[in-house]
């Protein structure tokens, strides 16, 4: 058991940033700094630029489809890939301060 302990700790650390939206039906709470989220409930996909227009506290959004990284930065009016946000995908979102996303 002891030899699996480091793996277990690492696992807990890595998934600590994952917020499963099902657990926060009232909204997705993002903390200041980096957040890794996977939105598991259904919603209509939308562009990341539109998300940032609604939540200007968000500074960056990154999506990695395992082949390529797509990033959007809330600077210079919004730069980078204006990709779609889909349900059941994992995104890294960085915010300046705590914010709660209401996607419904």
């Amino acid at each position: 058991m002891n030899k699996y302990l480091p793996i277990l700790i690492l696992t807990i650390l890595c998934i600590s940033g994952i917020i499963l939206a099902e657990d926060f039906k009232e909204g997705i709470k993002l903390y200041e700094g980096k957040n890794v989220i996977n939105i598991s409930f259904e919603f209509n996909p939308f562009y990341v630029a539109d998300l940032i227009k609604i939540y200007p506290e968000i500074t960056t959004v990154t999506y990695n489809d395992s082949k390529q990284e797509f990033g959007y930065v809330n600077a210079f009016g919004g730069i980078g890939d204006n990709f779609m946000i889909y349900p059941n995908q994992t995104y890294e979102i960085t915010t300046r301060k705590e914010v709660t996303l209401n996607l419904k």
Binding site: L8, V36, S66, V73, G80, T94, T95, R96
Partner: protein
């Protein structure tokens, strides 16, 4: 318990990419002051404490990560060594061959997912708008007259436009070379190639974006008579250079150098002197033959010498003879004197000498000996003096 561990490992596998999060370095690049657009140029990012070999790049503008004019966007976490809060990263625009680059800018990595670098300005390379070369005689233009046995100062002059301000010009070098057989990169050789590594930049010239470059060369008398190219190279403070040249022609120089006198020593009347050797040096830049003539007191007087004593007091011009190729030492009789030596004449006579011009920068090898004897006729005494006129005539074949 085994099932929980399996799930955890699966979670690690799925989430691992997110354990190394993205952090973007973004910034604005101003177009060059000469109007050149920054878009399409490449910008490089690296961590100097790691080394430039671990680097990332982006294309500025819509073709790059930012999809936005004049903007770049690089995820520094994609460096092999990643990036962390507190790291100082460096960026610069790379030279894609058009000589538009930038100085280096540093940025400190902080939180919140991205950092904005202070604006970078695309550097304008210096532009040599005009270049000209000449000696101190500007008329006729594009001709250089060398000085026998000496150097001639020539000046290459250029006007440089530097849109980043004339003070960003760092240094200038110049090369002056025979355009027919040498080239810009050839080694220095007094016959064909000269270098000046510290040309003068006159910052007082013109407006805030203009400067004058003056590059002097000291050209030896034996520089080839050909078309020559003076090319100036001007560097700015980012080691971006501009180069421009101008052509001129070095005129043929016919010149020779001689010992001061031919001394035959004491010769009795009705005797032939010992052979006197006399050096002739080519002090020009073409192969020469010799034009020879002589006189005693005044030109065309038919004599070789005038003497102070005796019944005749003259030595006829035909009694002074020379050989331009071979030495004949020892006593000789009148027949040998006539056969082995050519007689001097009162009017100039061109003789084949084929003395090439100097080719060795270290030793002057363009020197040939000539051999002289004189016959003193009966009744001539005292001190004798005469004149030999040496002239240089261009020999065929160079």
């Amino acid at each position: 318990m085994k099932k929980i561990l399996t799930l955890n490992l699966l979670a690690i596998f799925l989430i691992m990419p997110w354990c190394s999060a993205a952090h973007y370095i973004v910034g604005f690049v101003e177009n060059a002051k000469d109007g050149t657009n920054a878009d399409g140029h490449s910008i490089l990012l690296w961590n100097p404490s790691v080394g430039i070999n671990d680097n990332l790049s982006d294309t500025i503008g819509p073709l790059g990560n930012s999809n936005t004019n004049s903007i770049y966007m690089i995820d520094c976490e994609l460096l092999n060594n990643g990036c962390a809060v507190g790291n100082i990263l460096t960026l610069k625009i790379l030279n894609n061959g058009d000589n538009y680059v930038s100085g280096e800018k540093n940025v400190s990595v902080t939180g919140y997912g991205y950092d904005i670098v202070n604006n970078i300005t695309l550097n304008s390379p210096p532009n040599i708008s005009s270049a000209e070369v000449d000696d101190d005689l500007t008329t006729p233009a594009n001709e250089i007259d060398l000085i026998p046995a000496d150097t001639k100062e020539i000046t290459c002059r250029a006007i440089v436009t530097e849109y980043d301000g004339k003070n960003s010009l760092a240094n200038s070098t110049g090369k002056f070379f025979d355009n027919s057989i040498s080239n810009y990169n050839a080694a220095d050789d007094n016959n064909m190639h000269y270098t000046n590594n510290s040309c003068y930049i006159n910052y007082s010239y013109g407006n805030i974006n203009e400067a004058e470059v003056l590059c002097k060369f000291y050209i030896w008398y034996y520089a080839n008579s050909q078309n020559w190219n003076c090319t100036l190279d001007v560097n700015d403070n980012l080691s971006i250079h501009s180069r421009k040249g101008d052509l001129t022609f070095i005129n043929p120089l016919l010149a020779l150098g001689l010992n001061s006198v031919i001394d035959f020593n004491i010769v009795n009347d009705r005797d032939i002197s010992n052979e006197s050797k006399f050096n002739v040096t080519n002090y020009g830049n073409v192969k020469i033959n010799l034009s020879l003539s002589g006189y005693g007191f005044r030109e065309n007087d038919g004599n070789a010498m005038n003497c102070s004593l005796g019944e005749i007091k003259n030595i006829s011009i035909s009694n002074e003879r020379f050989n331009l190729t071979n030495s004949n030492t020892g006593e000789i009789n009148l027949s040998e004197f006539g056969n082995k030596y050519a007689n001097l004449t009162s009017s100039p006579d061109v003789k084949k000498f084929n003395l090439d011009y100097r080719k060795n920068d270290l030793i002057n090898e363009a020197i040939n000996l000539t051999y002289w004897r004189i016959y003193v006729p009966r009744g001539v005494y005292g001190d004798c003096q005469g004149n030999i006129i040496f002239g240089a005539v261009r020999a065929p074949g160079n």
